[in-house]
């Protein structure tokens, strides 16, 4: 049975096994299938936190400070740091690790850098699989860190229980740049570098955006722990200083509050359903794309259809419908 040695080691909390399995799921879809097959029943214990923000907003410092607090509270932490792949060269400089200021003990914190490999790379699927591996490895908390707020990030964050978006005063029109998808799933907005002028203004801007665009009645009603009546979490806003740790007690408190919120049976069930829907969709996207690609390359009917389209006897939409018939999915 392939990978069984590595998986045994993984469950015994061997970091090299975890790393090798992550490499496999990143690079080899077939391997990923076999691995997740085996380890899936060992997952579900970790709490997953998604954190994103524009470059320069101090994400790594924030995550570093936050992780230190988690470790002090006796938690084992996993961090997946995703950096963009250059569309020109296909390469990537994975610079989050070096920006983590704290010197963590390698027993407590597992840090793994990943490149997003462009839109076709299947990032969300690979990240989800890596999360599962770190989950089975024994992490209590898994932080997924990305840059920016594009579609990939929205997809990744469907795996997260709590989504944190970082903003900083003076970095331009980042609020307008936050795409609707991310805004709808953000649970905590953090204004970092609270010591620089404009931080309070940024908090007010976020509040305004939430009230206008998302129709939230902005008052924090999350202190009411009567969850049976609440089906939604009003996004919280907190300003912090990641370098000094100021307000991290409030930030941590919000995370804990949200974690409690998500543990409500109904909320958790919804989260799981959405996550499963999303991951399965990502996997299907890959499989079906591969099937279609294979078909387009090798099926002789396709060549016939293409000729018809070239002669304008058929349009591409009609051709696609015929291919769907060929695939046997109507």
């Amino acid at each position: 049975m392939a990978y069984s040695d590595l998986i045994d080691d993984l469950l015994k909390r061997n970091p090299r096994a975890a790393a090798k399995l992550i490499t496999k799921v990143e690079n080899d879809f077939e391997a990923a299938e076999q691995i997740i097959n085996k380890i899936f029943k060992y997952t579900g214990n970790a709490y997953i936190l998604g954190i994103t923000g524009a470059p320069g907003c101090g994400k790594s410092t924030l995550i570093s400070t936050l992780t230190k607090l988690f470790v002090e509270n006796g938690k084992k932490v996993g961090i997946l740091a995703v950096d963009p792949t250059s569309p020109l060269t296909g390469g990537a400089l994975l610079g989050d690790r070096i920006r983590m200021k704290e010197n963590f003990s390698f027993k407590d914190v597992f840090i793994r850098s990943m490149a997003n490999r462009g839109q076709l790379g299947g990032l969300a699927r690979a990240t989800e699989d890596a999360i599962k591996i770190l989950d089975a490895y024994g992490c209590d908390i898994i932080i997924v860190e990305t840059v920016g707020v594009g579609q990939s990030e929205v997809d990744i964050f469907k795996s997260a229980q709590t989504v944190v978006v970082l903003l900083v005063a003076g970095l331009g029109d980042d609020i307008q740049a936050i795409k609707a998808g991310i805004m709808e799933i953000t649970d905590i907005f953090v204004v970092n570098k609270m010591d620089i002028p404009g931080a309070d203004k940024k908090v007010a801007e976020i509040q305004q955006m939430l009230e206008l665009d998302l129709n939230y009645k902005y008052k924090s009603n999350n202190d009411n722990m009567d969850f049976t009546n609440k089906s939604a979490w009003t996004p919280e806003i907190v300003k912090v200083n990641s370098k000094t740790g100021e307000n991290f007690d409030i930030f941590l408190d919000l995370i804990n509050k949200h974690q409690k919120f998500t543990q409500n049976r109904e909320i958790f069930a919804n989260y799981q359903i959405n996550r499963i829907r999303n991951e399965t969709f990502q996997i299907l996207k890959h499989k079906i794309t591969k099937k279609v690609e294979g078909l387009l390359r090798s099926n002789s009917d396709i060549d016939k259809y293409i000729k018809l389209v070239m002669d304008k006897s058929m349009d591409p939409y009609s051709m696609a419908n015929l291919i769907i018939k060929l695939l046997g999915i109507e």
Partner: protein, 411 residues
């Protein structure tokens, strides 16, 4: 320090110490050594490099964050202005910035920007510019492009003189003089065909002399291979002796003045440096610019571009990417015995056992207290050194108050 200068009369010589983050401690040790020889500090002559800003930008040998480091530097400037008036307190350096990959204009601009930052910090402390500026000195690189280097030095001298007078109100001509030491560019020397480096160093040394340097360090030809052998050092020394005594190049002040090309290029470099000064000011000054990774980004980009030019053969390095004759390296290399480390550790152990540990402990407590406040730390460092505190012990005490700096790596 006592062992090193045993038998050498410190009132009769001058000493240059290439040291940065712990410079204040080394200076304190020199002062106390002289004290034990019976010489008061006002008789002492020398230099400490003591330029922390370029560490964050290029050499990366920092310890504490920028603000406490600047405080220590201004402490040394203030202390020396009063008590060690013949001492050069900073050797404001461009050498390392250039070695890290900057262009000539960047070396010019960033070095002078650092210099002005020190001037402003000292003036903020309340010192009169003419009290300390005459004891600031500079340290530049001398690279391959002969005329560019000469013009760089000329532009530097002109920019410094004008600003010291017009912006900082210096009245003493000594404050406006840009004294500088030059070292030929280590990074330009090759491991392939090392003898070619003798020629490179000659041209670079000549450029520095024609640009008006006060002192010169010529590199050894085995620079890219190892620490230099005796033979290599001798050739390097002879190189500058020949320039000095045989070529006549040092006999006239600014001999290339009036050359249409040299004047044009000097003006151009001065203007380009000006653009950098504006940019740095926009960012809020040198320290904010360091924190914003401005210098580091510029240097990373320049060094990458330089390497690409070499690989595209747009920039020729003779014997490396053009005109190569491949031959095995037969240059003898210097080896350092690891026993040296053991010996030093033993010596330090013995020292710690034989000193008065009561006084030693007390002086560190006082130092820490002073560091938490705003007093000038030099007297406290001197006292600690008198009680035979080691460099490590003093730095560790200061680390408790100042913390350590962590760089935000940019590339």
């Amino acid at each position: 320090m006592e062992t090193l200068f045993d038998g050498i009369d410190l009132s009769k010589i001058s000493t240059s110490m290439t040291i940065n983050a712990p410079a204040s401690i080394l200076l304190a040790m020199y002062i106390v050594t002289a004290e034990k020889q019976g010489h008061p500090p006002d008789q002492l002559r020398g230099t400490i490099q003591n330029d922390i800003l370029k560490e964050y930008i290029a050499q990366k040998s920092w310890i504490f964050p920028p603000e406490p480091s600047m405080r220590l530097i201004v402490d040394t400037i203030e202390y020396c202005a009063k008590c060690v008036p013949q001492w050069y307190t900073i050797s404001i350096s461009g050498y390392h910035i250039r070695e890290a990959g900057s262009t000539a204009v960047q070396e010019l601009a960033f070095t002078l920007a650092d210099g002005f930052a020190y001037v402003e910090a000292a003036m903020e402390r309340g010192l009169d510019v003419d009290d300390f500026a005459p004891r600031l000195s500079f340290f530049f690189n001398s690279h391959n492009n002969f005329f560019e280097e000469i013009c760089k030095y000329r532009a530097a001298r002109r920019i410094w003189a004008k600003r010291m007078k017009n912006k900082y109100g210096a009245k003493n001509p000594e404050s406006m003089r840009l004294r500088f030491h030059t070292q030929t560019a280590g990074v330009s020397l090759t491991a392939q065909e090392p003898e070619n480096n003798i020629v490179r160093v000659t041209l670079q040394g000549l450029a520095a002399v024609l640009g008006g340097t006060q002192s010169l360090h010529t590199n050894s030809f085995d620079e890219a291979l190892c620490l230099p052998t005796e033979k290599a050092v001798k050739i390097a020394l002879r190189t500058q002796q020949i320039i000095a005594h045989e070529s006549g190049a040092a006999d006239t002040v600014d001999p290339l003045a009036g050359s249409y090309y040299v004047e044009w290029l000097t003006n151009k470099m001065e203007a380009e440096a000006g653009a950098y000064f504006d940019k740095i000011e926009e960012l809020g000054g040198v320290i904010p610019a360091i924190k914003a990774n401005f210098f580091q980004k510029e240097i990373a980009n320049s060094s990458y571009k330089y390497q690409q030019e070499i690989e595209r053969n747009e920039r020729i390095i003779v014997g490396v990417n053009d005109l190569q004759i491949r031959e095995p390296c037969s240059t003898p290399l210097l080896k350092i015995d690891e026993k040296v480390a053991e010996e030093q550790i033993n010596n330090l152990q013995n020292l710690k056992e034989s000193r008065n540990n009561e006084l030693f402990k007390e002086s560190l407590i006082n130092l820490k207290q002073a560091a938490e406040g705003s007093e000038n730390l030099m007297p406290f460092i001197i006292e600690a050194v008198r009680n035979y505190a080691s460099v490590g012990e003093i730095i560790n005490t200061l680390k408790e108050v100042f913390g350590i700096y962590q760089e935000d790596s940019i590339f």
